[in-house]
């Protein structure tokens, strides 16, 4: 006790001197300051920070940082690595605020580290029930921040508010009943003073929705179901009572346009996934992009990519918003490379389809009609004996983030050209049990297929270039003002391409599959790039 008093006195004595003279030499990162809504709206203008899952509200994943660029990216070296203690795959996109990095971990944990060194400030380890229902691994993809509070999804379908300075829990809200198959894996999105968040569980006969919670109190402000209830417009697109267990999960983070005050969010497959017999109709709003009013959650418009899906082609992609030159005029668009292997450019004010064509191998549709609705090839529905269809269940792409560069005007996506036999099975819904109605089987080794990073011109939907990698990558993409595209691969590489040409500029083998998207930030004027590979988060920078 005595010694503690002496230390305090010594610290107190030194403070006035510090304020007036040299900065405290042992402080290596700047102080954390609260993240206001204005900062989030203008996140692109503080590229030293990565303030949300997709970097900015338009989800372009484009950073204005250019210290690392085409001419020097080959000099990147590892600065630090952080080992995630619970073994599982890391799908996290870290967030950086004023020199502090927040990393989510499997199953539903969170750690704050110094962004320059990877050394830990605090951890939040969540106790999970033993009987959680999850379809596809114990993942968490990231957090959101408003003020000094972090918001995180948990596998037991809760939304948790955590103090960014200490890791203390401020509130903990049940979003849905995990025993009915609901879970949460995606980073929430802040819209003004609310936390907007989706739900996972599309393989358990859930009914998907998008929620908004008061950031301070944790009270739910609105809920918009992804499947209309009886009596609502669109409910007649579901046979009988099938809408009650129709899936349409909302398991990835959406985007927001402050000028239009619209939230854009993708919805997942209708359930059961591979047996459409029990849910005849278009199954609105499964496999759709939804545009919701930013204050009320009211549906402004929808665009359904795959009506009556029977192949699990979730429209769970991050919507990328940009203003582009389209047929001679400036157009507010949304870019979307769908799991169904078609790329779409959509007017984001109205939901009108502008352009679309396949960007990856597909055999299920002859093409898109003038409204963007697929023209189906007969006989491609799953059967009891199996039917060979491209793309396979994992899709032409999937949940991993695409990117867009303001320099090149190109959209970048991780694409897979594969095929699979689809099977149909008869199943009855049981609460909390899988409700998928079939499955898939590859009949060739994975190495026989092809994957590429593809650059698409959103004005024409044409592929401008591609960079082949081994199948099947589940890495996301980031772009920078340094003329770069950063991404990873299934065989454990992290690499940089020239955003204009697709030329490879740098690669490093990290030794484990990349399931995550890279992000970039800077501290004390130095730019870094971070990627999760296997169970490790790596940060790279230029040689000092």
């Amino acid at each position: 006790m005595k010694r503690f008093t002496i230390m305090l006195l010594a610290l107190g004595a030194s403070i006035p001197a510090l304020a007036q003279e040299e900065p405290f030499q042992t402080v290596i990162t700047p102080a954390f300051s609260p993240v206001t809504w204005e900062r989030l709206v203008n996140a692109a203008d503080e590229p030293e920070n990565w303030l949300m899952y997709s970097g900015t509200l338009d989800s372009q994943r484009y950073s204005k940082l250019d210290a690392i660029n085409i001419s020097n990216v080959s000099e990147l070296e590892m600065k630090w690595s952080y080992q995630i203690p619970v073994i599982d795959r890391a799908e996290t996109v870290p967030m950086v605020v004023d020199g502090i990095m927040f990393i989510t971990e499997a199953p539903s944990n969170l750690v704050a580290v110094d962004a320059q060194t990877g050394q830990v400030y605090w951890r939040y380890d969540r106790d999970l029930p033993e009987d959680i229902r999850i379809c596809c691994g114990r993942n968490n993809r990231g957090v959101a921040i408003l003020g000094e509070t972090l918001f995180m999804s948990t596998l037991d379908a809760h939304l948790v508010a955590i103090d960014a300075r200490t890791g203390n829990v401020l509130w903990d809200k049940e979003v849905a009943d995990y025993k009915a198959g609901y879970s949460k894996t995606a980073a929430p999105l802040i819209v003004k003073d609310k936390v907007v968040t989706g739900i996972a569980g599309g393989e358990f006969g859930i009914r998907g929705f998008i929620d908004a919670y008061d950031a301070v109190t944790g009270e739910r402000v609105w809920r918009t179901y992804a499947i209309p209830a009886a009596g609502e417009v669109g409910n007649d697109s579901w046979a009988g009572e099938s809408w009650k267990t129709g899936g349409a999960a909302t398991w990835i983070t959406g985007s927001y346009d402050p000028d239009l005050n619209l939230i854009y969010w993708g919805t997942g497959n209708p359930g059961p996934d591979w047996n459409g017999d029990v849910r005849m109709g278009d199954n609105l709003y499964s496999d759709s992009a939804l545009a919701l009013n930013g204050d009320t959650g009211e549906l402004a418009w929808h665009f359904q990519f795959t009506p009556h899906d029977v192949h699990d082609y979730d429209s769970i992609q991050v919507p990328i918003l940009a203003d582009i030159q389209y047929q001679g005029s400036n157009r507010k668009v949304m870019m979307w490379a769908n799991r169904n292997a078609f790329y779409y450019t959509i007017d984001r004010e109205t939901g009108k389809f502008l352009q679309g064509q396949p960007y990856a191998s597909q055999t299920w549709a002859q093409g898109l009609d003038v409204n963007g609705r697929p023209i189906r090839v007969p006989g491609m529905e799953p059967s009891y004996e199996g039917v060979l269809v491209s793309p396979p269940i994992v899709g032409g792409t999937n949940w991993y983030s695409p990117g867009y560069s303001q320099q090149t005007g190109l959209f970048y996506v991780t694409a897979f050209d594969g095929e699979q036999e689809f099977f149909k099975r008869d199943e009855d819904y049981e609460k909390g049990e899988r409700f998928t109605g079939g499955g898939g089987r590859y009949n060739q080794p994975m190495d026989a297929f092809h994957s590429s990073i593809r650059a698409i011109n959103p004005a024409t939907a044409e592929i401008e270039w591609e960079f082949p990698i081994m199948p099947r990558s589940s890495a996301g993409i980031s772009t920078t003002a340094g003329g770069l595209v950063f991404t990873g691969s299934a065989d454990g590489y992290f690499f940089a391409l020239n955003a204009a040409t697709g030329e490879e500029l740098w690669h490093i083998s990290l030794g484990a599959r990349v399931h995550a998207a890279p992000m970039t930030f800077s501290v004390a004027g130095k730019q870094y790039v971070t990627i999760a590979s296997g169970n490790v988060v790596y940060t790279f920078g230029l040689r000092d």
Binding site: C135, C136, G137, F423, G439, D447, M470, S474, F495, H507
Partner: protein, 269 residues
């Protein structure tokens, strides 16, 4: 022509098992044998598997490298008995994505699932093959010249898969197909790569490994070569086996002997 499926005995076992079923049930992973292993049970186990397990392990139970879910159709890495399978299903595998099944899942259903998984591998004790394993052994090193490419217990060549335990991962029908139509199912490890480097050098060899930025091959002299893809001028991938078909070089009874020998190659207990 040949058909090695001789599972008629399972029907008899099923009838016997139903009798026993009324007497005692195996409880909590004790080694009392699985009484739920009739064709009906295996079918029920398969339906449960397709619904609950196939998302990770695949609809054909052959696993998923991406998720890290193992192939369940051959020798299991973590279980050597039905009790071992049962315990994994009941308890999961800590530190992996393999979660325990719900505690309220009835015992019978877990054992049906065990029976289905067990049915995916072939128990040699239940198969009576027409060929002679010892004659097959002689063919392997003699007329068939198999050992010029394949090793068994450290003896033999390097240009084909090590066959020391091939009986654990291939059933007799698959072995027969391997001998007669070797191009039908070739693992990428045994494809041939023809490489021309940027300096004009040609190399050809088995595809030890290929990734997004590099390639490793082994040539006919068992020399190992590594290439960076950025330095490769041209690359040809031959997705066929280098193994010849034995349909013309061995007669039916010799092929039976070779199958019997290969199927007998297992871990020594």
């Amino acid at each position: 022509m040949r058909n090695y499926s001789q599972f008629w005995w399972k029907g008899l076992l099923a009838i016997a098992a139903y009798g026993l079923l009324l007497v005692s049930l195996p409880a909590q992973g004790e080694d009392a044998g699985n009484l739920y292993n009739t064709p009906y049970d295996i079918g029920a186990g398969e339906r449960y598997f397709e619904r609950q397990c196939s998302r990770c392990h695949g609809f054909d139970a052959k696993g998923d490298d991406e998720i890290g879910a193992p192939d369940l159709t051959g020798r299991l890495a973590r279980a050597s008995s039905n009790v071992g399978i049962y315990n994994i299903i009941r308890e999961g595998i800590p530190g992996t994505a393999m979660l325990a099944v719900g505690a309220n899942l009835p015992e019978a259903q877990v054992w049906q699932l065990v029976a289905y998984i067990d049915s995916l591998s072939t128990d040699p004790a239940n198969i009576d093959l027409p060929g002679s394993a010892s004659a097959g052994n002689s063919l392997f090193t003699g007329k068939g010249d198999c050992d010029s490419c394949h090793m068994v217990n450290g003896q033999g060549g390097r240009q084909g898969p090590d066959l020391s335990r091939v009986g654990e991962r291939r059933d007799p029908e698959q072995l027969l197909s391997d001998l007669l139509t070797p191009h039908q199912e070739v693992a990428p490890r045994w494809w041939t790569m023809r490489v021309t480097s940027s300096d004009g050098t040609h190399r050809e060899g088995l595809r030890m490994n290929e990734d997004s930025f590099g390639l490793r091959i082994m040539d006919a002299d068992a020399k190992l070569w590594a290439f960076s893809k950025s330095q490769i001028q041209s690359l040809e991938r031959v997705e066929e086996s280098t193994m010849p078909s034995y349909s013309q070089t061995l007669n039916d009874s010799e092929i039976d002997d070779l199958v019997a020998y290969l199927f007998s190659l297992r871990k020594e207990n």
